[in-house]
Amino acid sequence: MKNLSPLDKAAAAVMLVVAGLIVVVILFAGQAGVRVTASNFEGGLIGPLQIITLTFSEPVDPAMAESLLDIQPSMEGTFLWVDSRTLQFASALPFELGTVYELTLRSGILSQDQHELKHDISWDFQVRPPLVAYLNTQNQQSSIWVTDLSAAKSRPLTDESVKVIGFDSSRDGEFIIFYSTNTQGGIDLWRVNRAGNDMAVLMDCGRDRCTAPAISPDGLRVAYSRELAGPGPDLPYGSPRVWVLDLQSGQNAPVYEDQQVLGYNPTWSPSGTQLASYDGLADQIRLLDMESGSQYIFPSNTGGPMTWSPDGTKFLFTEADQSEAGVRTLVRMADLALNDSYILIGSEDDMDYGYHSMIWSPVDASAVLLGMRAGGDDPSQVFWLFNPGLLDGVIIADQPDYAYNSPHWDVWGDSLVFQQFKLKGSYKPEIGVWSSGMSESRVIAEGLMPYWLP
């Protein structure tokens, strides 16, 4: 020790202390057993469709871990193991707004080599209030804004410098994909998250026009219409075709190899396994099963809206029928099991009701919202909420001289958000909200094309 300098002694002391602390921590950690953290519980609030992720400090047995997990109030769902340490739980139905959930992992053996969780761990969480995203076109801008339902907290989501043409929101409300004109005259796809802090070009389409994005229910793919630019600046664009962009791998390709198959307004089935689009050249809705590759074709001459039943076995679409009595807009029900469609509404109509803006509840097969003319010579429109099995329902929006469109259900099938516009005079489009139990809708903002951000 006599040969040790002050530096040696100080260094040895520090090294001994740190080594001792390491031993203490290791012993303490060993006594503590398996440790678990839950992610994505920011402030105890989650999205209603959010996947809950648990991370274990070491590999665990899936069956043992799942047997110790409990959620109250009880929620059915599926477990997915990302790896032997990471468990994800996807609820079958959206978590309910206003309910406090308690996720508990009970103490017990978690692996075959007897590693155990020594104490119960619980996490409390509840669903965050939903937002509504809409297009704000005031003051020469065309930006996406978001607001809560009280309309007290409106804020821009995109920069004013980027003129948004249209957009779609992901089912879980975490991000939006919109399209905007670029400097080459083409139209690009952009992506922005719920907080609005990562706006960026998702797909630089050059001189091509990439429009009508539709985000798959799992949020991993985007279907969109793409019109290829002509070989010269003055030459016309090609016809629209449907493409799919994989958001994880970046793979981007037309859905149909046959260049004669056109398509726009792509729409995903609720399961995300089927993709429908309208081929205006062949006057048909073409539906592709992305897993099996099988196709279904339903004649339609409107290219109008189509909407899926909650279980994805049926969908509704419109068709224009020319007869001696004049043009009649019909609503047809397509049944995938039968690979056929039939007229649901309109065959007996004494006038053209101009059915439009259909949207099927995401959870209730007996609730479809349909936009239609009020009747007679009145250009006003109404929203009719009806049961497609019984063909009876209620009018939920029918202000005189108003037109309604762009409706969307929230994830619970309880509330609708839509666009309304007064036809006579000079008025700005408004965003309306209607919830079950409300006698009439209410306005929450001035704007266009509303979407829910749950």
């Binding site: 002050p6 530096l7 740190v18 602390l21 921590v25 950690a29 274990f56 400090s57 070491e58």
Partner: protein, 318 residues
């Protein structure tokens, strides 16, 4: 010739699937390697350019007078001085050597030596670019600061710098030739230093990126996962990687990002803290400035403290 013939014969006996697999792996390797390299190169360029400008335009004599000679204040001041020098672990060694020569206390110089590669603005920006302005950035800076100050305080007990520093010290920087006089000459000299340092560091970046890409391509995730179980072993693995890869601190965050998901937060943090302080090339450079015992303390104490931090974070945040 015989070797080539032998290789051809052996390869002709292998099934086609082996070549297909190898080709696929090579494609993945190239993609990962280019991803790391292309993302890192701008930061390396920025760091070396700033380093050249600092070398030419900053008056070190004046700066050394600003540093306190009280141990704690000197160690803390030295560590925070790292925030204004955009140098990584290679550039900081000759700079520290020069500061010692100008009269900087041991504690301040050692703290600066260990802290500057992490706390400098280029590394802060590159870490933020890789991990965001979040916990990884904060804890990387905080833990590095603590280690730098502690090691600086340890060295503060040594009153005679000659017991720590090697007796033969070349005071002239390797890039320094005749002192430039005009502004244009200074700029030219700064760019020359930056270019030299860029190509020198670029070699380490390429090797580091290739090793990281190779690990990600050819080592199955399940193998890494088996290593990454438990609170201690993954930290030791990442500390070993930090030394072996010897990646410049201005770009190591992008390499570390590739390990997130496979290794725990604490393990990756220990990689980001320890790597800029100690790696193969810095150990070699330390040996040119410090005596052997001092070098061993510069390696062992940060190693133990990084290990402690990694294990603690693995415990708190699996």
């Amino acid at each position: 010739m015989a070797v080539v013939v032998l290789l051809l014969v052996v390869s002709s006996m292998l099934p086609v699937s082996v070549f297909t697999w190898l080709w696929d792996r090579l494609n993945v390797f190239a993609t990962v390697f280019l991803g790391i390299f292309v993302e890192a190169v701008p930061y390396l360029l920025l760091g070396t350019l700033a380093s050249g400008l600092v070398e030419i335009f900053l008056d070190r004599d004046q700066m050394s007078k600003w540093v306190s000679h009280r141990p704690v204040a000197a160690a803390v001041g030295g560590a925070f001085m790292g925030m204004i020098f955009p140098v990584c672990e290679c550039g900081v060694v000759p700079l520290t050597r020069r500061l010692f020569h100008k009269g900087m206390p041991l504690s301040a110089g050692i703290a600066f030596l260990l802290a500057a590669p992490v706390l400098n603005p280029i590394v802060v920006l590159s870490t933020a670019a890789a991990f965001g302005w979040g916990q990884m950035l904060f804890w990387r800076m905080a833990v590095s600061l603590v280690i730098a100050v502690v090691v600086g305080l340890v060295f503060s007990v040594e009153k005679d710098a000659a017991n720590v520093l090697r007796p033969v010290m070349t005071m002239e920087h390797e890039h320094q030739h005749d002192l430039p006089k005009t502004f244009a000459e200074k700029i030219r000299a700064a760019l020359l230093i930056a270019a030299d340092e860029f190509f020198e560091m670029g070699r380490y970046l390429i090797i580091g990126a290739a090793l990281a890409a190779g690990l990600q391509t050819f080592v199955a995730q399940s193998v890494l996962l088996s290593i990454s179980s438990g609170p201690v072993l993954p930290v030791l693995v990442m500390l070993g990687l930090a030394v072996l890869l010897s990646i410049c601190s201005t770009v190591d965050a992008f390499v570390a990002l590739g390990f997130i998901g496979t290794f725990s937060f604490g393990s990756v943090l220990s990689f980001l803290v320890f790597g800029p302080m100690v790696d193969i090339k810095s150990i070699i450079m330390y040996s040119q400035v410090f005596r052997k015992r001092a070098v061993s303390y510069l390696v062992i104490i940060p190693f133990l403290m990084s290990l402690l931090a990694g294990i603690l974070f693995n415990f708190v945040r699996p």
